[in-house]
Structures are given as structure tokens and as C-alpha cells.
């Protein structure tokens, strides 16, 4: 009885804390959203007030400040989408192979993928840009896409390995007895069972690819620009960009991700990092 009462009180406290924390984390975004509508704080008046009427004009001003904005949005979408698919397509079979084979050092190899995933982009982009120039992949959408796929692959392997190594193998074994080939087992047996975590990985990879800066930045001299590269231009070249327009551009570049996460939040719940050898979770 005591436990139940204090449990209920704790639930209320928990909810209140959640509201406060969520508000604190979202306040900067709300501030930006207001600015994109032209509603700005007037900090010089006492007490501070708001000025400006809500308008959608700043969204149309994005194109004035950055004429290629919509094209860059399309580039970002295409590059991130293809890169995420390529990443998952090559990581899935590899993670399966790692999860089912038992050779010494298997575990360390899996952990090496996590270390590789933690490696900052700066560590390898300098020679990457040079080599891409030499094989004429610089300033091409293909070059940017493949490179994005490569840098996010280690994390995908680690995550997919975690979920595949905990799947029951009885269906696979049944398929082997039925004489199914490897490709068939992967496509028809393993993929459907592992689908939730594959979909979640795909979504997270899309977000990561969409937000990459250094990799696309060093692989382009302006022909193929993603949104983050365009944003960095504004500041490195000291171009004038007023805050409401910048805020509108930020909102537009955040919207697709927010929409995806909102639509597929249930799939995201199966995204779990599982430490090799750690306890079963999720």
C-alpha cells in the first residue's frame, strides 16, 4: 500500500519533470519557429515584448538569399536516401555474417566497428577529398552519396549485428534443411524477422546522412551542395543573412526529419545499441 501511494506521487513528479525538461529543450526551437514567422523579441523595451506580426514572407525570402535552396533540398534528400539504403544494404549481410560466425576475434572486430563509427570525419576527409578528385568523383552526386554511405556504415553494422545476433536461428536452420540458398535465407527468412530493426536503422542513417557536413563539404566545390554545406557557406563567406530568413531555412530543413520521425516513431523504438556480450535488452 505504501509502495502504491508513493508510486503514484512519483508518477506525478515524473510527469512534471518531463514537462519541464521537454519545455527547456524545445524552447530554442520554439524561439526559432517564431522568428521564422517574423515574430521577434524586443529586448530593449522594459519589460521585453514581442514585435512583428506572424507572416509566411520569410519562407519565400529563402530563395532570394539562396537561389538554389530548393535544389539543395532535393540534393540532400536524394543523397541521404540513397546513402542510407546503400549503407543498410551492405551492412545487413555483413552484420549477419559476423553474427553467425564464430571465429576468434569476432567480438573485437564488432567492437572495432563501433570505434570506427566514433572516428570523427575530420580524421579521414582530407585524403578522401584528394583521392575523390583523382578518380573524378569530386563534385558528383555519386561521389557524395557513396562517401556518405561509407562513413555511416560502421554504425549500421554494429547496430544490426546487435539485433541479428539475438534472433533465434531456428527458422534459418529450417530453411537450410529445405535447401534454400544464402540469398534466399537472408531475403525471405532473416529480413522479415529483423525488419523492425532494419527499418529503424535505415531511418537513423537517413538522419545522420542528412546532417553530415564535412564529408559533402570537402567533396564539392559548389556543384553538388547539400543543405548543411549551403548553411556553412553563409558564414564562412560572411554573406548577409537576416535571422528570420535563416530561421525559416532552418525550419524547412528540419521539417522532413521531424515528419519522418513523427510518422515512424514506432519503428524507431526497435533501434537499440547492443553491446556485444552485454545483457539482452529491448
Amino acid at each position: 500500500m505504501v509502495v502504491r501511494v508513493s508510486g503514484r506521487r512519483e508518477a506525478v513528479i515524473r510527469l512534471l519533470l518531463l514537462v519541464a525538461i521537454t519545455a527547456a529543450f524545445l524552447l530554442p526551437l520554439a524561439w526559432t519557429a517564431l522568428a521564422s514567422l517574423g515574430v521577434l523579441p524586443d529586448n530593449s523595451s522594459r519589460p521585453p515584448s514581442w514585435r512583428g506580426r506572424a507572416t509566411l514572407d520569410h519562407f519565400s525570402e529563402i530563395v532570394v538569399a539562396e537561389p538554389a535552396f530548393w535544389q539543395e533540398l532535393a540534393t540532400s534528400t536524394l543523397a541521404a536516401l540513397v546513402a542510407a539504403c546503400v549503407t543498410v544494404a551492405v551492412s545487413f549481410p555483413a552484420a549477419f555474417a559476423l553474427a553467425r560466425s564464430r571465429f576468434p576475434g569476432n567480438r573485437t572486430l564488432t567492437q572495432a566497428f563501433l570505434v570506427l563509427a566514433s572516428l570523427p570525419a575530420m580524421a579521414y576527409v582530407i585524403p578522401l577529398s584528394d583521392l575523390s578528385r583523382r578518380v573524378h568523383l569530386i563534385d558528383t552526386l555519386a561521389g557524395v552519396t557513396i562517401s556518405e554511405a561509407a562513413v555511416t556504415a560502421p554504425l549500421a553494422v554494429f547496430v544490426l549485428h546487435g539485433s541479428l545476433s539475438r534472433l533465434s536461428t531456428e527458422w534459418e536452420e529450417a530453411a537450410v534443411i529445405d535447401g534454400a540458398g544464402l540469398v534466399r535465407i537472408l531475403g525471405r527468412v532473416v529480413l522479415p524477422i529483423a525488419f523492425p530493426s532494419v527499418a529503424a536503422t535505415l531511418l537513423v542513417m537517413f538522419v545522420l546522412d542528412w546532417n553530415l557536413l564535412l564529408v559533402p563539404l570537402v567533396l564539392t566545390s559548389g556543384e553538388v551542395k547539400t543543405i548543411p554545406v549551403a548553411l556553412s557557406d553563409f558564414f564562412t563567406f560572411e554573406r548577409e543573412l537576416d535571422w528570420p530568413t535563416a530561421a525559416a531555412a532552418l525550419m524547412v530543413s528540419l521539417a522532413p526529419l521531424a515528419l519522418l520521425v513523427g510518422l515512424f516513431h514506432q519503428a524507431l523504438e526497435s533501434f537499440a545499441l547492443r553491446a556485444p556480450g552485454g545483457p539482452d535488452i529491448g
Binding site: L18, R46, Y124, V157, A275
Partner: protein, 280 residues
């Protein structure tokens, strides 16, 4: 055979460039020059001797030591709050993930204006309290680094919560109830129930966060550009600047390899620790 596509992708776009780059750092190689000579470790000794690089290392050590524990503990606490079904849990999860969806560079742009006096949040709040107007902390030598860290913590903490939540919900409810019946206060429940179960996961997330911090680049580039002076200079900014702005390619590549070496060292510690903790 199943590993072949991955091997091609990683080999061609990650490992070969990295190794070719490593070999190149022992020479005076630069894409712009036609000849180059072998110089051994000279590029590395030049980087290490550069006082600017020393400042960058000091900054990134502070950055990592403050940001990573903050991100982990805040993310852990929020995951604890979301652990049990609660009214509107999936909504809280989506809303709390939003800051991570903002790209590091967009976060830099956003906070550049949010911290500024005229459009900022702090001055708006201070105005209500009757306080004086303050200048943006990113222009202040002493406040720029803490402000940069705070911006990064804002963006990364939601991701940590997202990664820790599956581990938190997997802890059986009885374990919490037992601890509660035993009258354990909240902090003891967290330390004795949650931490031991989640140690491997915390270690894994910690590894990712350390790597992320040691390579801090995007947000800092926009927010402060490493300034004022060198107050927020990071090794990644240093290396980018040498390779692509001042065209001192060998120095840029060598300093980038030092970042990789640091992450490699942390990675070795990670492998050792996770071996020990899972066998214990």
C-alpha cells in the same frame, strides 16, 4: 562473401584514403605540388610544436571532459523518467528527440542568433527580471567555450536518451519494486539497479560520445569559428583550416591523424573495459 560489399565500400572510401593519407603525412605531399619528399615524422613534430595546436588540444580535453559526462548523466536521467509507461510517452519521445534532428551546423546557426543580445533568449528573460542587457557569450573569451559546450549538450543529450531508453525499459519492473520496498532512496535505486545492468550500454554510448566530442567541428565552425582568438579552437578546426584554408596540406593531414590516434586509444580502452565488465 556476405562481407564483400561492405569491405569494398569501407575499403575504398574509408580505409584506403585513411592509409594513403597516413603514408602521405610522412612526406611533404600536397595535391597542389608535383613533387614531394620523405620527411619522416617531421610533420607531426611541427604540429605538436605549434602552440595553436596545443591550445586546441587543451580546449577539446575540457570540452570532452565536461560535455560527455553531462550528456550521459542528463540523458540517463531523462531515460529514467521515460522508463515506465506514462501519459503520452510516445509524444515525449518524439518531442525530446527533436534537438538531435537539428544538424550540428544548423544548431550553430540557430544558437548564434539565440545567444545574441537583440534576438536572444537570455536577454528576454533578463529583461523581465529587470537585469541589464548582456552581450553574447560567444564573443567573450571566458564564456565562449562553456557556451559552445552547452549548445552541444543541448543537441546531443536527446540522442543519448534515445539510445539509453531501450536499456532502461529492459530492466524488470520487480527490480525497481524490490529496491523501493527495501526503502532505497532514488539515487541508490539508480546506482544499484540501473547502472549495473546498463554498464555495457553506457560504455558503448560513451565511446560514441567521446569520438563525437574529440572531432567537434560543425557547430563550433558556425558558432565561434574557433574564436574569439583561440578560445574555442578545436583540433578538427585546426586541421581543416591548415588543409583547406591556408593550404598547408601535410600539417592538416598530420593533425587529423593525431585526432584519429586519440580516438583509437580511447577505442582500445573501450575494448579492454567491455571485455572486463562482461566477464565479471
Amino acid at each position: 562473401m556476405l562481407l564483400a560489399p561492405l569491405a569494398i565500400l569501407l575499403g575504398g572510401w574509408l580505409l584506403v584514403p585513411a592509409l594513403v593519407g597516413l603514408a602521405a603525412t610522412l612526406t611533404t605531399y600536397s595535391p597542389l605540388s608535383t613533387t614531394f619528399a620523405f620527411v619522416g615524422g617531421q610533420n607531426y613534430s611541427r604540429v605538436i610544436a605549434d602552440p595553436q595546436f596545443g591550445v586546441a588540444v587543451r580546449n577539446i580535453v575540457i570540452f570532452t571532459l565536461v560535455a560527455v559526462p553531462l550528456e550521459l548523466s542528463l540523458g540517463f536521467l531523462i531515460a529514467y523518467l521515460l522508463r515506465r509507461p506514462i501519459w503520452g510517452r510516445s509524444w515525449w519521445r518524439i518531442l525530446l528527440l527533436l534537438p538531435w534532428l537539428v544538424s550540428p551546423i544548423a544548431s550553430g546557426v540557430m544558437w548564434h542568433y539565440l545567444l545574441a543580445g537583440a534576438t536572444g533568449i537570455a536577454n528576454f528573460a533578463l529583461g523581465w527580471l529587470g537585469g541589464p542587457e548582456i552581450a553574447s557569450p560567444i564573443g567573450d573569451v571566458h564564456l565562449a567555450l562553456p557556451a559552445t559546450i552547452a549548445v552541444e549538450v543541448w543537441r546531443v543529450t536527446p540522442f543519448v536518451t534515445f539510445l539509453l531508453l531501450p536499456g532502461m525499459t529492459a530492466i524488470p519492473q520487480e527490480r525497481w519494486e524490490q529496491a523501493m520496498l527495501a526503502g532505497a532512496p532514488l539515487h541508490r535505486r539508480l546506482l544499484d539497479v540501473a547502472i549495473p545492468d546498463m554498464l555495457p550500454l553506457l560504455l558503448t554510448v560513451g565511446m560514441l560520445l567521446v569520438g563525437l566530442s574529440l572531432g567537434a567541428f560543425d557547430t563550433v565552425l558556425i558558432l565561434t569559428g574557433g574564436g574569439p582568438g583561440t578560445a574555442t579552437l578545436t583540433p578538427a578546426l585546426y586541421s581543416y583550416d591548415r588543409a583547406f584554408v591556408t593550404n598547408d596540406w601535410p600539417i592538416g593531414a598530420a593533425s587529423a591523424w593525431l585526432i584519429a590516434a586519440a580516438v583509437g586509444l580511447v577505442g582500445a580502452v573501450y575494448v579492454q573495459l567491455s571485455r572486463r565488465w562482461s566477464s565479471a
